[in-house]
């Protein structure tokens, strides 16, 4: 009897949850579907859901007309570069804070966090002006540095919470067994730290990829990543839903896939370890 009730409840939960999940996911699904339609099908009334002439034409047009590859490369360069640079700066910092904490460690960590709270618009003009005077407006390298600095607090924090979970006893044990400092680093700490570093890398790549304040304000042509490329579709001429969808799908697909791998780390990274 009790079993029958739970199984019915489970069925009800399942139905409801799938329905809600579908609704929330629908805009993305609709974008992906529309990207395979002709422009006429894209605005058809009543809307066509699955039974239309599937075409890859939009993807070809977007590639040809807008030099999509250059925007894609800029996105990869900026997101990847800022993440790797950020890790290089953050790993030693998080390492020393986790393994050799001093009395000020907590204050420094909190202060780093506070820099993340600084509203970007508050320093928009100074950064803009500095970029002009250094001649790096619309420059990929400048964006790498800026996005690195923006995400540095999150990188340090995430790494710190991961490193802190590596037990200190294990180092002592290794030392007892006669491991040198180099052995310790190479064979004990590094393997234990790699999962944490990998998830930090993933999350920050996503955050940098989707960053849309500095990338919109500091780029024009040469350094514009996909965020700016998509924004250029905001003043449309004529029929363009299918092409917008194709461009959008290409811009979000890689991150959706990466994001699904990183959902656990997302919680830790964005709540600064306060919710695990």
């Amino acid at each position: 009897m009790a079993r029958a009730v739970t199984s019915r409840r489970k069925a009800l939960n399942t139905t409801l949850a799938w329905l809600v999940g579908f609704l929330i996911f629908f805009p993305i699904l609709w974008t992906i579907l529309t990207s395979f339609k002709t422009e006429a099908d894209a605005i058809a009334n009543p809307p066509v859901f699955l039974f239309f002439d599937w075409t890859l034409e939009n993807y070809e047009v977007v590639q040809e007309r807008s030099n999509y590859m250059r925007f894609l490369w800029n996105s990869i360069f900026i997101a990847g570069g800022s993440t790797i640079l950020g890790l290089l700066v953050a790993i030693p910092a998080a390492w020393s804070m986790a393994f050799v904490p001093s009395r000020r460690t907590k204050d420094i960590l909190l202060w780093m966090l506070s820099t993340k709270m600084l509203p970007a618009v508050g320093v928009l003009y100074p950064i803009y002006l500095l970029c002009i005077q250094l001649g790096v407006l619309d420059n990929r390298y400048a964006l790498v540095v800026i996005l690195m600095l923006i995400n540095l607090p999150i990188i340090v924090w995430m790494l710190y919470t991961y490193f802190r979970e590596i037990p200190g006893e294990i180092l002592e044990a290794a030392r007892m067994d006669g491991a040198s400092l180099k052995d310790e680093l190479l064979y004990v700490l590094t393997p234990m730290a790699i999962p944490g570093i990998a998830s930090t890398l993933l999350l920050n790549f996503i955050l940098a990829w989707n960053e849309a304040f500095w990338t919109l304000n500091l780029t024009a042509v040469d350094a514009a990543p996909l965020t700016a490329f998509i924004a250029s579709y905001s003043s449309p001429e004529g029929l363009f839903f299918a092409k917008l969808s194709a461009a959008s799908t290409m811009a979000i697909a890689p991150i959706l896939i990466l994001g699904w791998f990183s959902q656990k780390q997302l919680v830790r990274g964005l709540t600064f370890g306060a919710v695990k």
Binding site: A17, F25, Y125, P126, P236, Q263
Partner: protein, 275 residues
């Protein structure tokens, strides 16, 4: 540690002091350049301009609306996703997906494919029921923006609240059930208090990000139809009308506002650090 601290220190202090410096001067790069020190005049002018209070109201409505939607639905969704069901992992993936969509894409997809008064899905739906399609972005622009922004942030709230709910003690729940507590009283006396810390964190973090919402406005209304938030107003003052002194004063206000919220967040995070 030193390089990271040094970099962040420079990154924070240099632009910040420049903003404060500019905010005290009359500085119009395209119209006369730097015209010297004017004291606190920019600060007074920024708050007394006719655009200031509407921008505060807009900011509060967008931040408040998106917070309300993402917290209320986030709690409901988290409870739903915590129940036993088939394909939980897949549903989770579907629900979280919008968070990974870049802001310009989600804003444009909503603006065109859903809210377009002629060809958008909502227009089709409205006509199907015999109603006149709504021109969302000019007739109810703030509501439209709240929908877009909530869609982006609901997954974040859900994910964090779900993580918190999963740490709720199952035995406690069972005991309450045995003692005859109904689902509602179980929710109000067990689940909600258990979630209170996570809810606070979601509110604080989202407030910081929501105050900075920019791209969504940039590609939908461009600040028209009363959708100028404080952030957008400062952006327009600084880059569009190139009144750097005035905009910088606004920037200082925004920094102070964000710092007040950040202070609460830090206290919670800091407490957590001691444990």
């Amino acid at each position: 540690m030193a390089p990271a601290v040094f970099l962040l220190l420079v990154w924070m202090l240099v632009p910040l002091s420049m903003t404060v410096w500019f905010s005290l001067r009359s500085y119009l790069p395209l119209r006369g350049g730097d015209q010297g020190f004017v004291g606190l005049e920019n600060f007074v002018r920024f708050v007394s301009s006719s655009a200031f209070w509407p921008s505060i109201v807009t900011t509060l409505m967008i931040v408040g609306g998106a917070l309300l939607i993402s917290i209320v639905f986030g709690i409901l969704l988290a409870i739903l996703l915590d129940q036993p069901m088939w394909g939980q992992g897949v549903v989770r993936i579907l629900v979280i997906a919008p968070f990974f969509v870049m802001p310009t894409v989600s804003a444009l997809v909503w603006k065109n494919m859903f809210m377009d008064p002629v060809n958008g899905l909502f227009a089709h739906l409205w006509r199907f029921f015999g109603a006149d399609p709504v021109v969302w972005l000019s007739e109810m622009p703030i509501f439209a923006l709240v929908v877009i922004v909530s869609w982006q942030w609901l997954p974040f709230a859900t994910l964090i609240l779900l993580t918190a709910i999963q740490s709720l003690d199952g035995e406690q729940m069972e005991a309450a059930e045995m003692d005859g507590a109904g689902p509602l009283s179980r929710f109000f006396y067990l689940t909600l208090p258990h979630l209170s810390r996570a809810i606070t964190i979601v509110i604080l973090i989202q407030t910081i990000f929501l105050l900075a919402v920019f791209a969504e406005i940039f590609v939908t209304t461009g600040g028209a139809f009363g959708t100028r938030t404080l952030t957008y107003l400062i952006y327009q003052r600084v880059l569009e009308s190139q009144n750097v002194g005035l905009g910088s004063a606004g920037g200082v206000y925004a920094i102070i506002l964000a710092n007040i919220i950040a202070l609460f967040l830090m206290r919670i995070v800091g407490k957590n650090l001691d444990r």
